[in-house]
């Protein structure tokens, strides 16, 4: 028996649409900003690791292909 599957046609909601839907206050967003910054720092670290882990030869090939 096939399970139901959503056929989503709506575009991805913007941050503003999401915030309007949730009725979130500016104070709450401000309080959560340090967590967002912490995640951003982790994300950029992960990207650096990911780039560094690609062999130099592969990186040169990718750069020349681009």
């Amino acid at each position: 028996m096939p399970r139901p599957v959503a056929h989503i046609t709506a575009p991805w909601p913007t941050q503003e649409e999401m915030e309007k839907s949730l009725h979130i206050s500016k104070a709450r967003k401000k309080a959560l900003q340090p967590l967002v910054d912490e995640f951003k720092a982790q994300l950029s670290h992960l990207e650096e690791v990911s780039v560094a882990s690609i062999a130099p030869e592969k990186r040169r090939k990718r750069a020349s292909a681009a």
Partner: protein, 206 residues
């Protein structure tokens, strides 16, 4: 006639208990990463009869998820079966059968075939089985809501871990120990959506 539903809104019909909190966070993180907006009965303000407010919320959402994985008897002294989730599923089925283009509902379970025993009237409806794990919830959400440009399940799991690790701080800031509190829910949604947008910009998607 109620207004048309929000095309990205998902009503979450889940148990509000302590043992479920990690799956609750996984639902929020997963839906936000799929570009959907979760909604919970606790977020609607009081004033009207609770049941009326739940009906309005179901009608305002294009989709709903009904997690029947914890429909067992409570462990409290006077063990009582939980009827809220099946009741809200029944209300949703009625609404959807009257308005088939305006709503789609999904049933989730942790164990395969158990639903045939607990709600045999649902025979013919295959539930999504998440095995009671956050990873399972993220996987099944991806199956139920296929979408271009979605992150991989391991990437979704990383964001889940980050949000879950910060749940205590969010609870403390809101002066509550209840993760289903309205303020906590709103903050979890906003944080999950913001992190999802950050990773979508930075990472290749599927």
């Amino acid at each position: 006639m109620p207004p048309l539903p929000d095309p990205n809104a998902v009503f979450l019909n889940i148990p509000y208990d302590e043992e479920f909190h990690n799956l609750y966070v996984a639902y929020i993180v997963g839906l936000c990463q799929l570009g959907l907006v979760p909604h919970l009965a606790t977020e609607i303000p009081g004033g009207d009869r609770r049941l009326n407010r739940i009906i309005q919320l179901i009608q305002s959402c294009r989709y709903s998820i009904h997690d029947l994985s914890r429909a067992e008897l409570s462990v409290a002294a006077s063990a009582t079966p939980r009827f809220n989730m099946p009741l809200e599923l029944g209300m949703t089925i009625t609404w959807q059968s009257l308005n088939p283009d305006q709503h789609t509902w999904f049933v989730c379970e942790s164990e395969p075939y158990r639903i045939q025993k607990s709600v045999s009237d649902l025979n013919g409806t295959d539930p999504y089985i998440h095995n009671g794990t956050p990873e399972g919830v993220l996987r099944e959400l991806c199956n139920a809501f296929p979408r271009d440009r979605r992150p991989s399940v391991p990437r979704m799991l990383e964001i889940y871990r980050f949000v879950d690790n910060n749940l205590d701080a969010i609870l403390k800031r809101n002066g509550t120990s209840d993760p289903y509190d309205r303020g906590v829910f709103v903050e979890l949604c906003w944080l999950s959506k913001t992190l999802a947008d950050l990773t979508r910009l930075a990472e290749p998607t599927i």
